[in-house]
Point group: C3
Chain length 379, copies 3
């Protein structure tokens, strides 16, 4: 009962956070038929700003990290980020009625990392007196960015396959500009890469005669899209230049505010598309409850391997588990909105903020700390 | 003579404030035929940001206020806000040559509250050693927002009536999209709600056969417009969620700067339309001199009733009078620009900043403090 | 060898600065065929914000300066700013293969002032213990703004002449809207003033019958363009109003961040146009090496005249030389991008940041300090 009360307290707190508050505000505004709208040019620029900031902060963290020492945990973090998306692709996406693009985006969000869940985990580690490597917090971009890139690429591959299947069934169908994918095109989407681009790539890679989708053109096309371009540009600028001054004075302080506006826009769209989820909401609830615990245990297992192999600390193992269990409410939404515009934000944001994050906080963190103390003798 | 010198000093100070400086800068730029322009998408976004901030700050103030204790003064504040607009509607708007939409917008601005006049009033109260309730400053959104909403609704009702009258005179006239109201459509307007929308509502409410304008569809339509939607969304987010972090780090610090850009745009437009005012400027001058004193006395009277009924302090009564006397140079312009785009900003901003605010500061505040000390024994 | 090592260190440091980092990032993004783009409305607004800030900071510096005392050095600063552009117009612009608009823009950038070079100069003066007037730093807008205005006006005159020459050769050519100048129109340019406007002015000034270009209509047209309008508006607001609060809270803090985005856009464009420079890069390298030293010596000479005529301090003379030697990486790029959109940013930014600024820092500053100590006995 204590757990339930804790869970509900965190849930209500979340509802009042600016992030979720603006999302719900956007839904209410849309439900009341308001004519409020964010101009498309401004919206696209906001997404660009958010993604550049996510990339910059990851790049700066990597530049300042001791790469040699953190090599194995960093590789494990990247493996987890990629694996989480493939798990969603092969579980949630195959459930009856669940749209694969929605499921892939949800997997991307659960693979990405929540800074606030990470902070909660570190706080609890310290109150338990467990030691951890100072650079353990810098593992997050190694998981965050691979997860988001994997999700966008898998979505492009899926959309490309869909298009080719349609093409084979009806050759007349594929008239230029008419095709709009399985899902309705997201209104005001930052870009229509997955559908439009993967189509182009599929035809480059041989068209209807060749029955296999070539992967590399789709990956390349995803990376050239505006969402991943901005993310990777920020990452590269963070690693190779010294953007700290402009990051601290501009990109970082504007981030939360611009995110609140993005949340408003996503709330308006979520309302318009919430009906799509009515019949499959239970699958998202189950996934969002089980996934953080499963991902966290994978993270804990790999942390344990690193503990044995290289003496990675028990506290570091807990941090790896916590970032694996967390789902992003910051870097994820803008990236997925830009990179998989056809995925329904009601699905992935709803699953993450309403269930996934409270479970990771209230169940996950205490579980991993207890396991570490039992198995690795931390504390 | 002292009063005149004081008045002139404040007037010249005002001219150098960023708000008025940018307004005049915009007028000069327009007069010199510059091709400088703020892109429409950015302009709309700036108005959205300003209105959301006005709503948020009002909502946060209301959430933190002791509603039970301040109930009567808050109701009085709302009554004053609404009343001020009706006074303008039935005096200024009926003077010869004055355009009713300009007069209604002016009434809205004089009903709305100026934070700097309020601050000046509180400073003077404290230097007089008068006591006042700590929450008295939080009365401002209860007057500010009703005044602005009333002005926009009255403008919509007026525009709806105008359109129906025209329609009855000339049924062929009302071709789709052609009608543009009595006043020229404001260039680059945030939205054309009053005209366009009220028309739609008027025809919903029975069209030419029914000779009465139905009020509710117009009110609903005004509330769904982008201006009031943003204002009320901000208010609701301020009351029901905890947006303080994003308010303090984003909406509040950007406010003055974005307002300066809006002022520039309004200055450019004001120059283009200043000729409209040449024949009626004296009416605005008279209104702007008398109105702050009249509104302040109404506020003082209601504060006196609250003093007798519930023990509202004399200092609180002065604050109610000061916010009634003040006219908004912050929340008002963007809201009216968004909600009544056909009203001429030269009229309402000119009346408020050039005459109304100096009168409220130099005449109003000392008058109400003197009255309070004489009648209620404050100090 | 010490000098070369110093030069190279500064060069590598520059490459990691946010300004140049984002420029190179934009080039890389463009080279990789990314579809990342900044919406045009946002881009235009960013240029407006940057130019208004440059004008505001100049205007505030002038308002706070002791104009009577600094009259002669200020006049000298303006003379240098204008002269530098005319030097480029009559040297670099006449070299084989160099496009005159690129050369004029480069001259404008070398005439404008770099705040960081100025700061480096002041720091070195202080470490040498040389005295200088407290207002000497405020000389920069007197050189900066005349140089940029001169460059834009000379570009307009050149474009107007080009157009008239074409017109005389082929009267049919000049169909409305078709003419696009010698250079390809800059993609996403803030405005196409020089070409379009100078044409209009040229025909006002007599058309083909009159074989001389009238200067005043072109100057007036340049000043009415969006770039110089924003710059001069900011200057006037800085001088005549008190925009410090909004400058400190809005325009100044946003400047570096918005500049980084402009640099990204200019990098993307620079990549697309870098091929134009292949055959003339050596001329830019020679100009960028010689020009800072020549300009600095002119500044030093005029400072020496002021020293003899009015007792201007030796340190002040060094500061005049340093701002003459410096080339702008802050105020220049947005102004030139807005005012001479057809000029190739690879030319002027490349020349300034890759060669000009390191030369001014590593060669210029020590040279002028040594000269001052030898000739004027400073220190």
């Amino acid at each position: 009962m204590d757990f339930l009360a804790d869970f509900l307290t965190r849930f209500v707190d979340k509802l009042q956070s600016p992030t979720l508050g603006f999302l719900i505000g956007g839904m209410v505004i849309a439900a009341l038929n308001s004519r409020l709208a964010i101009p498309d040019a401004v919206y696209k620029f906001i997404v660009f700003m958010l993604l550049l900031k996510v990339g910059l902060s990851g790049g700066i963290a990597i530049r300042n990290a001791n790469l040699a020492e953190m090599l194995l945990p960093a590789v494990f973090a990247a493996v987890i980020g990629i694996l989480v998306v493939f798990i969603a692709r092969n579980t949630l996406a195959r459930l009856p009625g669940v749209k694969p693009l929605d499921a892939i985006a949800t997997g991307g969000l659960f693979g990405a990392v929540s800074g606030s869940t990470l902070a909660a985990g570190i706080t609890m580690l310290e109150s338990e007196g467990m030691q951890y490597e100072a650079w353990a917090g810098a593992l997050y971009p190694f998981m965050d960015i691979p997860a988001l890139v994997t999700a966008i690429v898998l979505a492009s591959i899926y959309a490309g396959k869909q298009k080719r299947d349609k093409y084979l069934k009806n050759e007349d169908y594929l008239r230029k500009g008419e095709y709009s994918g399985m899902q309705p095109v997201a209104a005001g989407g930052y870009s229509s890469e997955p559908g439009g681009i993967a189509g182009g790539s599929a035809s480059q890679s041989g068209g209807p005669a060749n029955n296999r989708v070539k992967i590399w053109p789709i990956v390349k096309d995803s990376l050239q899209g505006s969402a991943l371009s901005a993310l990777i540009l920020g990452l590269a600028l963070g690693i190779f230049t010294r953007p700290e001054s402009v990051y601290e004075s501009f990109y970082n302080p504007l981030f939360r505010g611009l995110l609140s506006i993005l949340m408003l826009v996503m709330g308006m769209e979520a309302w318009a598309r919430i009906g799509e989820l009515r019949k499959v909401a239970q699958w998202y609830a189950v996934y969002a409850f089980v996934a953080p615990l499963l991902h966290g245990l994978i993270g804990f297992g790999l942390g344990y391997i690193a503990h044995i192999a290289t003496g990675f600390s028990p506290g570091g193992g807990v941090i790896l588990a916590v970032i694996a269990a967390s789902s992003s409410d910051i870097s994820g939404p803008p990236t997925l909105r830009g990179g998989i515009p056809k995925a329904n934000p009601s699905a992935y944001i709803g699953a993450s903020t309403a269930v996934g994050t409270p479970v990771a906080l209230a169940v996950g963190i205490p579980l991993y700390i207890g396991l570490a103390q039992a198995l690795m003798g931390g504390g």
